[in-house]
Every structure is written in C-alpha cells, then in structure tokens.
Point group: C2
DNA sequence: TGCCAATACTCTCCAATGGAAAGTAGGCAC
DNA sequence: GTGCCTACTTTCCATTGGAGAGTATTGGCA
C-alpha cells in the first residue's frame, strides 16, 4: 500500500510532486466532486438539471466549476444553437477515470459515516 | 425529488445520500487532503514540521484543518506537557483508511497529469 | 406590432473564508 | 528580569462564495 509515497522512491522528482499536489488541490474541491458524482450517476445533463441535482450549489459556482472541469478535460460541453439555448454536459473518458478513482472515497464515506459521527460526538462532548 | 426507482442504485436512501454528500463536502478539502498525504507519508509529526511539509499552508489553516480532522476522528493529537510545548499529530485507523481510499486519486493525478495539462493547453488555445 | 417565456449564463452586492504577520503563554537558560 | 522556544491565536485585508437580479435570443401569442 501507499506506493505513492515511498521507501522505494529514492529520487522523487520535485517538479512532478509539485504538479501532482497542484492538481490534487484543484480536483479536491467540494463542488467538483459533487458535480462529478452527479454526472457519473445521471450521465449527460443540461445546466439547470445539474443545478437541481447538486444540492446547494449556486449558479455562479456551477458555471465556474463546469468551466474549470472542461478546461481540465473532465467534461465535454456541447452547445446546441437553438432557442431557447441548450447546453449539455457529459463526462469525458478522463472524467470517468477520475470518477472511478474517487469511487473508493464514496465507499469510505458510506462505510465510515457512523464512525465519523461518533468521533464528532465524542470530541464535542469531551472538550 | 426524482424517481430513483428504475436504476440499480446501491444507495436509494436519501438520508444516507445527504449525509454522505455532506461528509464528502467536508473531507474533499484541499488542505485536509494534503495534510492527510503528509501524515501518511511521514507518520507522526509535530505542528511546525507539518507546516513545513504541506506546501503553502498558513498556520491558521493548519490549526483549523487539524482540529477538524481531529474532530472527525481522522487524527490523534497528543500533547506533551513540557516546555517548550510539544504536540504530535498522528493518523488514526480511520484516517489511514481514508488515506487508502484517496490512494486511487493520487495515482490518478500522477497517471493523468499529462492528459490534464494537454487538455488545458488545448482549451486555452481554442478559446 | 409588441410582449413574454425559456435557458444559460453574467453581474452586483454582501458575508464568509483564507493568508501574512504580529501577539500570547510559560517555564528555562542566562 | 530578558529572551527563547513552540503551538497556537488574533488582527487586518484580499479573495471567494452565495443570493438574486439582469442579459441575450427568438419563436409564439395577442
């Protein structure tokens, strides 16, 4: 386990490490994760549907998050030149692969929900 | 909300889904992830060492992140009543399990770094 | 003719968050 | 006493995020 860190990694390239940290910092965003989840679950979606699907997101953040994800190659944005406007968002292969990588985190959240809540109660009571 | 009837959905309970989303929202934080990584990699650390290890974190955010992680049962905080003060942070079993869950994400970041950068260049050039 | 509905943003205002740096506590060598 | 060490804590200010109104487009309706 943990072969991302490494006893067997004598000369970790600092540039790569920095870039990976940077990428993590951008991808590990609440809204990115939630949008990714909904797109995984529901497939291709339009803007307003996503806004309804992601709990509590504002239009501004949805636009911003989708733009960033598009720029990073995670989602594909398809505009239909009709009136009223129609824009569809879908995960790219890269987006799907990230969704699969995050799969473990969702499972963890489901599995350890009770443990986290217990820890919180204990902490709040103890201090 | 929607009819979650047809799909072979593993978690049709809306309460659980909401709690999981909430938990994801809290755990999917840039600093939490970075601190988790360093703690996984270096094991037990003191405050200032962690501050040096995590690139770009401020003391305030480090304190805040560590407190939140402690509350969620991810790290264990050990205070030695000596002078000058000495406080050690270590991952709990729960923290380790989360680290393993995020392992896939780090692998993804390493593996798809080039793809993301290519997508970014293409996006920036195309617009 | 002129107004409205529908959609995907975009803008504005304001509150909350995050970073930089200085301050705090409290024994101990001097 | 004075300064030092460490782990915070506080203060100030720039940036971010949320709520809600505004914008652009054009077919349909009165």
């Amino acid at each position: 386990m943990q072969n991302y860190s490494a006893a067997a990694d004598p000369a970790p390239d600092p540039r790569v490490e920095m870039l990976v940290n940077d990428l993590i910092g951008r991808v590990a965003d609440k809204w990115t994760l939630l949008v990714l989840e909904e797109l995984e679950e529901h497939g291709t979606c339009r803007f307003t549907r996503l806004a309804q699907l992601v709990p509590g997101i504002s239009q501004k953040m949805l636009t911003q998050t989708l733009r960033a994800m598009e720029r990073d190659g995670l989602v594909r944005r398809t505009v239909y030149p009709v009136v009223p406007p129609k824009v569809e968002y879908a995960l790219t292969d890269l987006g799907h692969s990230l969704g699969e990588a995050f799969c473990g985190v969702w499972h963890w959240a489901e599995a350890h929900l009770a443990a986290v809540e217990a820890a919180r109660s204990a902490f709040d009571a103890g201090t």
